[in-house]
């Protein structure tokens, strides 16, 4: 047996999104379940065959060919009429127009159409995320549930609701242009941003699936900018932001899966290639006069990874970027981060005032964040007893186990 035995990482997952997208173009969105069934069947045929015979020369083409034949069979059996199949004769369906759909260029195109379908404004953001992860990214219900820290039934419900909505929405599967694009692109960016954040910030224990979410978000963003009409500065900024964060993934957790604080991270573990890539994306991102929140967040993330030691962090510069950011978006998370920067600049009075001002706006399950930051403030002021008091409050308030552990560690360090 000399057949190649190495499969590209996530071949099936990525292929799933491509193939479902093509088949949905063929059948229409209303038959998305049929499309998904056909893709699944193609995969199982591949598993049964390749496991013994090794990989075919071009696995992707093999899968697509099988799916295409299954689709043609389906048409024949069910006498379905599609705009791609206007002639049906005794000798079989006209297959030439179908073939056109399976060209590389068309595959990319179909996938982008699918992404924009998932961004349909009639869907709420949490449904958009679940649907995108399933039909575009090829994640299973269980994998999505693990990644988003929800149970399978919740995810199933979200996806079913989203599909049902899109079926009644008289959906046009196309890449929006002009005004439509301007309206739809920010939603696509937001979904990608949220998928990344779910992977990067969630407190789930499954480190692998979380990192996969991060890289999936980056893959989706790259898919967008690969299209000539979608090379938008905001997406480049988002890509830069994600790379600046993702470069730190190897240093964030120790061997016992415990979170390592930013200041304690081993900077030699940071992925230099991703930092380089991030900078490349940022050059493209700044070719505009109008910066988005992604631009400023990327600028902040860049400032954090620039110095060789934590002590050399340029807090003044970071504060400037935060001031610009909160003018565009004054979410509590950004305001808290700005207060932290002020603490590092020894602006304790100002930071206290800022934290107090946010208190009203934070939901109960996020209050621990404020108290954890207050603890840092008093620690920096060398008022250790006060710092410990706030830490205890934060430990008491946080709903997350790993967060509790982290705060407890900090508390023990102070004692």
């Amino acid at each position: 047996m000399s057949k190649d035995l190495k499969i590209v990482d996530h071949l099936f997952r990525h292929q799933y999104g491509k193939m479902v997208a093509i088949l949905v173009r063929l059948f229409g969105f209303n038959a998305i379940e049929t499309a998904e069934d056909i893709v699944q069947e193609s995969f199982l045929k591949a598993l049964a065959n390749w496991k013994i015979n090794g990989l075919p020369d071009n696995p992707e083409a093999w899968l697509i060919r099988v799916a295409k034949n299954l689709a043609i069979d389906y048409f024949r059996k069910n006498k379905v009429h599609s705009k791609y199949l206007d002639q049906q004769s005794e000798t079989g369906v006209a297959t030439i127009p179908i073939d056109n759909l399976f060209l590389d260029k068309e595959i990319e195109d179909a996938q982008l159409r699918m992404i924009f379908a998932c961004c349909h404004p009639s869907l709420n953001p949490s449904d958009q995320i679940a649907l995108t992860l399933q039909v575009v990214s090829g994640f299973s219900i269980q994998e999505i549930a693990n990644a988003l820290l929800l149970n399978k039934d919740q995810i199933k419900k979200r996806i079913q609701r989203a599909k049902a909505k899109l079926k009644t929405a008289n959906l046009k599967l196309k890449i929006p242009e002009g005004k439509d694009l301007i309206a739809r692109l920010p939603i696509a960016e937001k979904i990608i941003y949220l998928i990344f954040n779910e992977g990067y910030y969630s407190s789930g224990n499954d480190q692998v699936i979380r990192e996969e979410l991060c890289f999936e978000a980056m893959r989706l963003a790259r898919m967008l900018v690969n299209h000539p009409l979608l090379k938008h500065p905001d997406i480049y900024a988002l890509l830069g932001l994600m790379c600046f964060h993702a470069c730190r993934l190897p240093s964030r957790v120790n061997a016992r899966s415990e979170i390592i604080l930013f200041e304690d991270q081993d900077r030699s573990l940071w992925n230099k290639e991703l930092i380089f890539l991030a900078n490349q994306y940022m050059y493209k991102a700044v070719e505009t006069t109008q910066f988005s929140t992604y631009h400023y967040q990327a600028a902040i993330a860049a400032e954090y990874v620039k110095p060789e030691k934590f002590e050399d962090t340029n807090w003044t510069k970071i504060l400037e970027w935060y001031e610009a950011l909160v003018l565009l978006d004054s979410s509590p998370v950004f305001l808290i981060s700005r207060a932290i920067v002020n603490i590092y600049l020894n602006q304790f009075g100002l930071a206290t005032k800022e934290l107090d001002a946010i208190e009203q706006r934070l939901p109960k399950n996020k209050q621990f964040m404020l108290n954890a930051v207050r603890a840092t403030l008093f620690e920096r002021k060398k008022e250790i007893e006060k710092a410990k008091k706030y830490l205890l409050t934060a430990i008491d308030q946080t709903p997350s186990v790993s967060e509790k552990k982290l705060l407890l560690k900090k508390f023990n360090k102070l004692s």
């Binding site: 035995l5 099936f12 199982l44 049964a48 390749w50 496991k51 013994i52 090794g54 090829g138 269980q142």
Partner: protein, 115 residues
């Protein structure tokens, strides 16, 4: 060296509901097994079988469509391997990647008639 046929029996994949990533992982296990045989210099060739088919049985030659028995016992494929004896064949068969799915390997020596 003798030829042994390893016959793979198990549930049809349709019933197991694999995700794309799980399919990839399954494939990886089979490839690892094949690599293991390659590393030991053990020749192995085989075929995969479609889960559906036809069967003919009885004096009346009754034809029926598969899937045949309970889903658990479908022949999914086989390898023919060249090894010294049954013990060596059993050692190799222990690497079969689908025991955790309730699969079975049947090991049969290929008969040889020396005139």
């Amino acid at each position: 060296m003798k030829d042994f046929m390893l016959i793979f029996l198990g549930a049809s994949y349709e019933e197991l509901g694999f995700s794309p990533e799980q399919i990839q992982e399954r494939m990886g296990r089979w490839f690892a097994w094949s690599e293991e045989m390659n590393a030991k210099g053990i020749e192995h060739t085989g075929h995969a079988l479609n889960p559906t088919g036809r069967s003919i049985s009885g004096p009346d030659k009754v034809i029926s469509d598969g899937p045949f028995l309970e889903g658990k016992e479908i022949v999914g494929g086989y390898y023919i391997i060249k090894v010294k004896d049954y013990d060596a064949a059993v050692e190799i068969a222990k690497g079969f990647p689908e025991f955790d799915l309730g699969g079975t390997v049947e090991i049969r020596e290929v008969m040889v008639f020396d005139n």
